[in-house]
């Protein structure tokens, strides 16, 4: 029925519904990671079970710095979205930094292995793997979407819809970055200090 597309739908908010959905999903992601973090606190505090001290891998510091910088570059890409040259520059830079982030995470996991801390050892090490992997999966989702948008924007004229997609991606990346910064500080100062 073609009439539907021309029918109007009343809206009660200023925020775009898709962006609103994104904000709501932050709530779910916060709960997902809080569950891991509370499990970690409870497990570390449980004196009935053994807890081996595990050093936090040092490359995680670099990845934390990188993820903060990449948040700035994606912001710049969004700001200059109408300017093809600048947009390409900043979005490719973001993509590059994202890969560097993954690289440092990888280095972090290798460092754990080299210290004989494996996934299946004492839970103090296993938690680092699993939590950073779950974060990594969320991050990879962002990388995939970023790649798609970069490819898509090469040819077309940017209009409202595209701008909104990039905006959503950017806010998602900020959020996922923030989650990692939080996790890093949480690991560093509360659990693996």
């Amino acid at each position: 029925m073609s009439e539907v597309s021309s029918m109007s739908q009343h809206s009660n908010s200023r925020i775009h519904p898709k962006l609103f959905l994104l904000y709501l999903s932050f709530g779910s992601m916060v709960m997902l990671f809080s569950a891991f973090c509370s499990a970690l606190i409870v497990r570390k505090g449980d004196i009935r079970q053994s807890w081996l001290d595990t050093p936090l891998p040092s490359p995680f510091l670099y990845s934390t710095i990188i993820i903060i910088i990449s948040s700035i570059t994606i912001h710049l890409a969004y700001k200059f979205i109408a300017d093809k040259k600048k947009f390409t520059l900043y979005s490719l830079l973001t993509l590059f930094l994202a890969l560097v982030f993954v690289y440092f995470q990888w280095m972090g996991w290798s460092e754990l292995q080299s210290k004989n801390i494996f996934l299946s050892g004492n839970p103090s090490g296993s938690y680092i793997y699993v939590i950073s992997w779950v974060h990594g999966l969320h991050y990879l989702g962002g990388i995939v979407v970023l790649t798609i948008l970069i490819l898509k924007f090469r040819k077309i004229q940017i209009e409202f819809g595209n701008k909104m997609s990039f905006n959503i991606l950017m806010q998602y990346c900020h959020f996922i970055g923030l989650v990692w910064v939080f996790l890093y500080l949480f690991f560093k100062f509360i659990i693996y200090n």
Partner: protein, 592 residues
């Protein structure tokens, strides 16, 4: 406030696939959820009939069972491993697939866009995905029933260490059955999140002109809070499930420590099984409210319409749900009083648990006051709504006993608990779902459902439900989940009552078959719902202003504007005893 175009899915003719299978229309998705839910409720109920045969006649054989089930019922008697798979699957299917997805999925999809005056959901595409993830979850679970090693058998709560070890020596269901259970639940969680996020965004963003929050019908309020609970409580279950799968597949020790199987010490060190219980019940308790809140909403609506009276204490109803949602996050450990918890901690959880009884009582009080001196129309929908109130009171009372940690210690894991949660949640939520199906049947299928069969369904169901679960309160010394309780002499006193319960379980199952037959028959052959009488129950809400046949976008022209709250019944103004929300206030009439 702004007006936005409704997306771009306008096409002239939809193919069969687009219309019935990959539909993005909320009304079709509602029916998909309903039928999938019906399928699962039949499977889940049939399972309960099988294990009731075992419990009612523990020492007898039924040769047809061997024909039906093969090696799972050798000699005509259900094997112990199969018994545990049956109770596990029964709980999982009914709690998650039927009373969560079936109930919320059906009514959120049907009612949210209709009652708030929207063309569809905020994201019809996500809505479709939500159904498809649900279907996928179901297929995985269904597949696990046919595994050589059997379906999961660790109980619907899947506690480790039992569920954490992948070893056939533990039990057969601990192999692929348990893995599939967790994969399926993960898909299910994704489905719930996609659905819930969308419901919230729709209710908050797409209400029609004049539909302020305080003019929302109560089912919409209830579905909003349900969705909020779901998007916050399901992710921790995903975390819990992931850690458990790591324990099972990659030999981590999140939940396991010092386990001996078949004389061998396994390699797990440093895990805590109680941790899983915390994570599980952090979802598990909110989950029971995810089930019951939509039931609250449907009941309030059906009671008010059929009493021709405004809902008593509309705002109190909304606040009560809100408080239940808040407190619902703070009581999870009342399922764990027996896990070695610090008694001081136990007393805090007791306090919060008993506090939840207050808003629950407010709701019950308001329902009773709503029907008090009303002009009752005892349609089948109304009967089921009244039945809901009765069941919720009966089951809620036993919650007060269990919520008290000192009283719970002897009662934990006995048939008393089984009685409590089946009455207050299981049967009650089903009653609200039935009420909803009978009430909105014309909107869903364009025909009326047969009332006579409806009354038979009601009486058969309520009598057998009480006949099954009231006696269980008196079996409070009998632990739940015993395969052959008559092996213990002390429990022999329960042999007769157990038979009695099983007989009524079979009767109630047949009553549900009758209901399904009624749905199918009435949807195809029932009296037609026509444009002569678009509002058969004299309702105020917006869904009854749409045309008789389903229309993509719901209203042919503009979406109607709303001028009043939805419960103006018998106001004394005008010539009918109801004032639809679309009717402007008359002179001298005051807004509610």
């Amino acid at each position: 406030m702004a007006t936005i175009a409704h997306g771009d899915h306008g096409h002239h003719e939809e193919s069969f696939l687009e219309k019935y299978i990959f539909s993005q229309d909320h009304k079709m998705i509602a029916r998909q959820f309903l039928f999938t839910g019906i399928f699962w409720s039949l499977v889940g109920a049939a399972m309960s009939v099988l294990f009731r045969l075992q419990l009612g006649w523990p020492n007898e054989t039924f040769p047809f069972l061997e024909t039906l089930l093969g090696k799972w019922a050798e000699g005509g008697r259900i094997s112990n491993e199969f018994y545990y798979s049956l109770v596990t699957m029964h709980g999982t299917i009914l709690v998650f697939f039927v009373l969560t997805a079936g109930l919320s999925g059906t009514f959120a999809n049907l009612l949210i866009p209709y009652q708030i005056g929207a063309r569809d959901m905020a994201s019809p595409f996500m809505n479709m995905l939500s159904y498809w993830f649900f279907l996928l979850a179901g297929l995985l679970m269904l597949f696990s029933l046919f595994l050589q090693t059997g379906a999961a058998s660790g109980g619907w709560t899947m506690y480790p260490p039992l569920s954490g070890i992948r070893d056939a020596k533990v039990n057969a269901g601990s192999m692929w059955g348990t893995d599939l259970w967790f994969f399926s639940m993960s898909m299910f969680i994704v489905s719930s999140l996609l659905g819930g996020l969308n419901y919230i965004a729709t209710i908050l963003n797409l209400r029609t002109k004049g539909m302020t929050m305080w003019r929302l019908p109560l089912p919409v309020w209830a579905l909003l809070f349900t969705a909020i609970l779901g998007v916050l409580a399901f992710p921790p279950l995903l975390s819990a499930a992931l850690l458990l799968e790591f324990d099972r597949i990659f030999d981590t020790s999140f939940y396991l420590s010092d386990i001996v199987v078949g004389g061998n010490l396994l390699d797990y060190k440093g895990g805590s099984p109680i941790l899983y219980q915390h994570l599980f019940w952090f979802l598990g308790h909110p989950e029971v409210y995810i089930i019951i809140l939509p039931a609250f909403g449907i009941t309030s609506e059906v009671l008010s319409v059929n009493s021709r009276k405004p809902v008593f204490g509309y705002k109190a109803m909304v606040y009560a749900i809100g408080i239940i949602v808040l407190l619902g996050f703070l009581v999870w450990a009342h399922h764990m009083y027996m896990s070695g918890m610090n008694p001081f901690l136990g007393s805090i959880f007791t306090l919060f648990t008993l506090l939840i009884a207050v808003p629950s009582a407010v709701k019950v009080f308001n329902w009773l006051t709503t029907i008090w001196k009303g002009n009752l129309r005892l349609t089948p929908a109304m009967m089921f709504a009244l039945g809901f109130v009765s069941l919720f009171i009966s089951g809620g009372l036993t919650g007060l006993f269990l919520g008290n940690s000192a009283i719970d210690i002897p009662l934990h894991d006995t048939y008393f608990v089984v009685a409590h949660f089946h009455i207050v949640m299981g049967v009650a939520a089903f009653f609200a779902m039935f009420a909803g199906v009978y009430h909105w049947f014309p909107k869903m299928f364009g025909r009326y459902i047969n009332d006579t069969l409806g009354y038979v369904h009601f009486y058969a169901t309520i009598i057998s439900a009480y006949a099954i679960f009231i006696p269980m309160h008196f079996m409070l010394s009998l632990p739940r989940r015993y395969y052959v309780f008559s092996n213990y002499q002390t429990f022999n006193i329960f042999e007769d009552v157990s038979k009695f319960i099983s007989v009524f379980a079979i009767i109630s199952f047949m009553a549900q078959i009758l209901f399904v037959v009624n749905i199918v028959y009435s949807a195809l052959k029932g009296r037609k719902f026509t444009s002569e009488n678009l509002n058969p129950w004299g309702s105020n809400t917006l869904e009854w202003t749409t045309p008789a046949e389903h229309l993509h976008g719901n209203w042919p022209g503009e979406i109607p504007e709303v001028y009043r709250w939805p419960y103006d019944y018998s106001t004394g103004h005008g010539d009918t005893d109801f004032r639809p929300q679309t009717e402007p206030l008359q002179e001298g009439e005051e807004a509610h």
